[in-house]
Amino acid sequence: MSRQSLTKAHAKITELSWEPTFATPATRFGTDYTFEKAPKKDPLKQIMRSYFPMEEEKDNRVYGAMDGAIRGNMFRQVQQRWLEWQKLFLSIIPFPEISAARAMPMAIDAVPNPEIHNGLAVQMIDEVRHSTIQMNLKRLYMNNYIDPAGFDMTEKAFANNYAGTIGRQFGEGFITGDAITAANIYLTVVAETAFTNTLFVAMPDEAAANGDYLLPTVFHSVQSDESRHISNGYSILLMALADERNRPLLERDLRYAWWNNHCVVDAAIGTFIEYGTKDRRRDRESYAEMWRRWIYDDYYRSYLLPLEKYGLTIPHDLVEEAWNRITNKGYVHEVARFFATGWPVNYWRIDAMTDKDFEWFEHKYPGWYSKYGKWWENYNRLAYPGRNKPIAFEEVGYQYPHRCWTCMVPALIREDMVVEKVDDQWRTYCSETCYWTDAVAFRGEYDGRPTPNMGRLTGFREWETLHHNKDLADIVQDLGYVRDDGKTLIGQPHLDLDDPKKLWTLDDVRGNTFMSPNVLLNEMSDAERAAHVAAYRANGTTAA
């Protein structure tokens, strides 16, 4: 269709909307934003007549590549270190995708602009595509990769796992609370515009370097839909900016959304890229370097900074602090070590790091070995059952961390941990911003104004609470992370499948009692708590 025809067609389609006079549409999902003064902004034009064939063609390429991968025996050259992490990643990501579909009517209800309604409804279908195409990729991995355990219980594991819950914010945040906070700022303006770059572009590149060219095939196809979504989000953002009353809410939501995305996405994708790869070329970009390119330059400098001309205060301090956490405070390395500490309650296996890995980390993150090298050597030493407990229960100089009440990634940068009594409970936070999110932002009043539509933090937010004071073997069994012989764990701290004696079983982990840090914290006297927190913070990770 020519550009002129497309313009005419789009103009015709806009004639389909009308102002209702008999009934006012139900407000199912409210917002504290106002769009009374908003000028109508056009998103990218898209009509269904061109949309469906375009997507069908994209699908044909994806499914053709999948057939080719099977015929070409792709799994002969896939790195297990890499594909094991896909058990976690691909258990998480279809839910955020489908949640994005579910978020679209929230934005439609909130924004009085028929031009955008069309774009949002098309995005809804895109997101159904993304969710199901990713589920199908996972199914292919399950069918063709050497170790299907973990893929085979994927959605159950996602729903009962500590790491799944961290990832679940990335979906629930899209569909809950203030419609604009959720479906526009958190989902589109930050998650899709900034962080899909690392999710759907940087990570697939790493997959290809590890012999897996299907992840790039699927995720680059997914990413090719994102530009329209980004356009939808930007149009709504500009409409919101037209009313001064929205400014404090926009600034609140940018701070929350930026920081939460950083905490969640950088934790996961950073770990997958840095600890899931076997590609240790010295000139291979580190996650920090990718982040600098994709997030700092492409998003922060090119997208966020120009918003200042509209009088919006953007969270420079949080962008810089995220960068600081990644480059100086070891955020990704801490998360990887935490995941590896928790290997018995994982549904994926985590490979040990070798001298080659150590060299690469030291090259990319000077000082890495002195902080993390010894721990990974211990991880390697304690990899097999029989002579030792799982590493979490051995003395290796690592204290099991407190969990952040807000982002649910533990408070791993220990000197930054915030401890406050909120809603009559002692809670721990990884940072001041996560404390602010819980105590200030997600409340019914903000900065002296009522914000009844803002969401709330709910649920059993500390995963460990559910399993407090239980035997590790019982926890693993309750979670269902056991292989089909009824005794071997799905999670293993190594990749050796050739010798049954190297595989941990329920009996090997029995006798270790698991304690919730938050339950214990709330049981302490004030003096005990103060001492405990001081000691925890003193075990900091900032380079000397």
């Binding site: 209702p20 050259q77 839910f95 159904v128 990769y145």
Partner: protein, 365 residues
């Protein structure tokens, strides 16, 4: 002279990580094991759809971690008055997922496109009589608003609220059907505007907004958008409105009389909407049959659906009756309003019977 940067690339390593390379516990566990498929072998549809939207009653151990300011987050079952002892039992008979959505809708796009190209090439519109041109200009023009309104503010809206991924995905596809069909009608309108025939491409706006025969239809559509209960919305839209107004207009009028008025184009396009509705009615029928046959809640659901019928049937019948004058507008009047309405009512009764619901008395008046 600048130094050429040495190319750097990852090395391929043969890892023998194929299925079957080794035997160990779970080495043959190659099926999703967290749900029970409807038949012995899981379908692709089930594998990519079931449990993607978590449920605290199934595997979700920490509950929903975000809530609304005035209530729980996620997908509360309280968002509808209808009840089910197992919402997860619903599976879409159309088994919609990525590939079916794009294959099916692309096929429709190609069909419509070819039809419209042929119409232009054959100068098909030149032979239409003025009364028929006016009929299409006004009535098909008005109807496309209804389709678009249902797409964006009924079906798109519902798919946020259903308690399972299977329900919400089926409804999302329904929304896509409606949006595509509404746009196809609009672009057909554009073609006619550009053809060398007396056709006012903008007349539809005033007809939809003010023409007396269309106001009750617009009123029902707008009232639908005001419903908060997602299940009532789906019932009112796909069971009542589509049967008594949508099918009445599309199936019992346009599809019956177009050819006799020299128009072989409109039935091809409207036929795609009919095909869509046939698929969409399929999933809707399955869902409501499940609810009326529910061992625990079937009877209370039937009472509830009876209440919904009492609200929506009179509204839709009013809309249907108001449309009566348009049966007289074409030059060739091969069907009467009475026979069309009888046919629509009969199909509606049959659908209600299939769902185990009593026909409302208004149908007999």
């Amino acid at each position: 002279m600048t130094e050429t940067k040495q190319r750097s690339f990852p090395t391929i390593e043969f890892t023998d990580s194929e299925a079957g390379a080794l035997e160990f516990p779970s080495s043959t566990s190659r099926a999703y094991n967290y749900y029970k498929p409807a038949k012995l072998r899981a379908t692709m549809y089930e594998d990519v759809t079931v449990d993607v939207q978590p449920d605290p009653e199934r595997h979700l151990s920490q509950g929903w971690i975000y809530g609304f300011g005035d209530g729980p987050g996620g997908y509360p079952k309280e968002w509808t008055a209808a009840k089910s002892s197992n919402w997860h039992a619903f599976l879409d008979p159309n088994e919609e997922w990525d590939q079916t959505i794009y294959r099916n809708n692309s096929a429709v796009v190609h069909q419509v496109d070819l039809c419209l190209q042929n119409a232009k090439r054959a100068r098909a519109y030149d032979s239409w009589n003025p009364a028929w041109l006016k009929f299409i200009e006004r009535n098909l023009g008005a109807w496309m608003h209804a389709e678009n309104g249902l797409a964006l503010h009924v079906f798109t809206s519902i798919q946020r609220s259903g308690p399972t991924n299977m329900i919400n995905t089926a409804v999302a596809v329904n929304a896509a059907h409606k949006m595509r069909f509404a746009q196809d009608l609009a672009l057909f309108n554009l073609d006619l505007s550009e053809a060398d025939v007396p056709f006012d491409g903008g007349a539809h706006k005033e007809v939809w907004k003010s023409a007396p025969e269309w106001q009750p239809t617009r009123e029902v559509v707008e009232r639908l958008t005001a419903v908060g209960d997602w299940c009532e919305l789906l019932f009112a839209a796909n069971i009542v409105f589509e049967q008594l107004v949508g099918s009445l207009f599309r199936t019992e009028l346009v599809m019956q009389i177009a050819a006799r008025n020299g128009d072989y184009i409109t039935p091809t396009i409207v036929g795609t909407g009919e095909h869509d509705y046939d698929r969409d009615l399929g999933y809707t029928r399955n869902l409501f049959r499940l609810l009326t046959r529910d061992a625990e809640y079937g009877e209370t659901n039937k009472v509830l659906f009876g209440e919904w019928l009492a609200i929506w049937v009179p509204r839709c019948l009013d809309a249907a009756h108001a449309l009566q004058p348009i049966w007289s507008q074409p030059a060739e009047k091969s069907v009467t309003f009475a026979s069309s309405l009888d046919a629509a009512k009969q199909k509606f009764r049959s659908l209600l019977e299939d769902l185990g619901l009593d026909s409302p008395k208004e149908l007999d008046q």
